[in-house]
Symmetry: C2
Subunit: 323 residues, 2 copies
């Protein structure tokens, strides 16, 4: 493996000049540039990325921290990776599987300079602790967050959820159930607030078990339907789901139970992923890809000291066959 020093020696110039050629510095004469480039080609030279990272103090790598990648995250991940790579940044995946220690690993990696910044979604560690890593680099969250050290690209969940709620009300449904996500997240509390407000506004019936939290997956959606519809007492006639995965599970299981959708039970998803389209589920369009781009821009801004503006994005309701 050849290195910069060899190029310098062979060309008769100093390391500094070779470095200038590599970095396209204008302070090199064309002749010198040509000479050096020729030698680099002959030796099949490429600079060592680690050496660059070490001396620059930056890796041009950004960590994405999640519990695990699922269908809902897919557009976020793809869009983020794509955007980052346009600017020469690579994306490293950190999945915790719910283990706080593994999650923390990502933050430690930022402290150790292996990544320049982090994007996080739902977190399992104490926020206080995570925020404290803000001093080691930019942290941007996909969830709404009230921490000065952590910027957020999350949208106003209250408004988004309200869109879904008003929609089903307009369709004539009144017995509304909610499959909420992570109970401690700001996203969930925004949605809960919307639900409470709509209940008050329209004086809707409420049952304690109609608003469970911690529902994220297909399987959980399936189970939820069984519980809701097999319980004694009054049943809901519409379920608003934390995301499209849950909605898919709900729809699937309801049909399996012989329940007519949307006549007997309406289903609303969230995020409007490909899955919602495929299954024909009414869903609240969440401009996830745009959020990912925004997340990267925020990071880049912090990294370059050019403070990018927080983009303004909106929810939309996509009506399909389940309402």
């Amino acid at each position: 493996m050849s290195n910069l020093d060899q190029i310098a020696k062979l060309s008769g110039f100093s390391k500094a000049t070779v470095s200038r050629v590599l970095n396209h510095s204008p302070h090199v004469s064309q002749t010198t540039r040509d000479t050096i480039m020729k030698i680099m080609e002959e030796l099949d030279y490429v600079p060592n990325g680690n050496a660059i990272s070490l001396s620059k103090g930056q890796t041009e790598q950004i960590g994405m921290v999640t519990e695990g990648i699922n269908e809902v995250m897919l557009p976020f991940l793809n869009s983020f990776v794509e955007t980052a790579s346009q600017y020469g940044y690579q994306t490293i995946i950190y999945t915790s599987g719910g283990d706080p220690a593994k999650e923390l690993q990502a933050f430690e990696d930022m402290r150790r300079k292996r990544v320049d910044a982090l994007v996080i979604s739902t977190c399992v560690n104490d926020l206080e602790l995570l925020s404290s890593y803000g001093k080691y680099g930019p942290i941007v969250s996909w969830q709404r967050m009230e921490r000065p050290e952590i910027q957020s690209v999350a949208m106003n969940q209250y408004e988004g959820y309200m869109l879904g709620l008003e929609h089903v009300i307009k369709q004539g449904y009144r017995r509304i159930a909610n499959a909420f996500g992570r109970p401690t997240s700001m996203n969930t509390s925004g949605r809960m607030q919307a639900y409470q407000d709509i209940v008050r506004k329209y004086n809707l019936p409420v049952q304690p078990d109609w608003s469970p939290t911690g529902i994220y997956s297909i399987r959980q959606g399936e189970q939820l339907v069984r519980e809701l519809l097999l319980n004694p007492g009054e049943h809901p006639n519409v379920i608003l789901c934390a995301n499209d995965l849950v909605a898919a599970g709900v729809l699937n299981e309801a049909r399996r139970m012989g329940v007519k959708v949307p006549e007997e039970l309406a289903v609303v998803g969230f995020d409007n992923t490909e899955l919602a389209h495929t299954l024909g589920i009414t869903s609240i369009y969440n401009p996830i890809a745009a959020q990912a781009q925004n997340a990267f821009q925020l990071i880049l801004g912090r990294l370059k000291g050019t403070e990018a503006a927080q983009q303004q994005l909106e929810f939309q309701l996509v009506k399909r066959a389940t309402t």
Copy 2:
């Protein structure tokens, strides 16, 4: 930011000894270890990851190269990331979006020592070219591949596909259509071979447009159904799909067109992802998660010089409502 040198000076020991403490070398007395550890804690010291990578010549990072992450890749990605992290390796995502130059970036990054190894799936560059990067580090492919420089964890697609073919034959279907994937991949040619053999064995009817290639996505699946069923002439009564995404699209569109599944048209997916389960699609179980683990083990083996054995994995057919 404190560094190893400061710890050495403050503790009165040399850098070498401090390094030994960091690396849990047994050649340090307990007293010394304690002293040094205490100082490291006081200064809130952590070693710089880039410096380690530079001097060790390894980053403990593995690149995963794909056109883009989709639902089918999800279990592979998650399983790979999870397994790698157990061994202290991080996973970097490289998505090319079909652009050869972007794909090549990943290989160049290995040359520049930013990643220790690569896992690839479908590739858009010339294989000859990609193989030549084998000298810079291990490359493992998720696709079957006939290159000594690139190991493969792909399974025998011939047998897997045959499983699906024999199944639909047994169910009485004879007009078989295939939505094949990437035309140039070894995976596809294995499946094509299986199809040809079954056609010969059972003397099945064949139409030129019943075996298109290049079908990977939901949308393409949807379109395919329209084409196949609206064409003049004989229509197939079963479609075997390149993956579950395509099967989902096919199923979706067929139902929308009022076609009865499985009476008028059977659908078989591939990979048996969560999606197949949700939609009740018969699918060929492809032990993707296990392949990902295997891929990592192969890489680790090459990296550590301990040659891991290629695991033997099997396909299975999961019958659901679409056949």
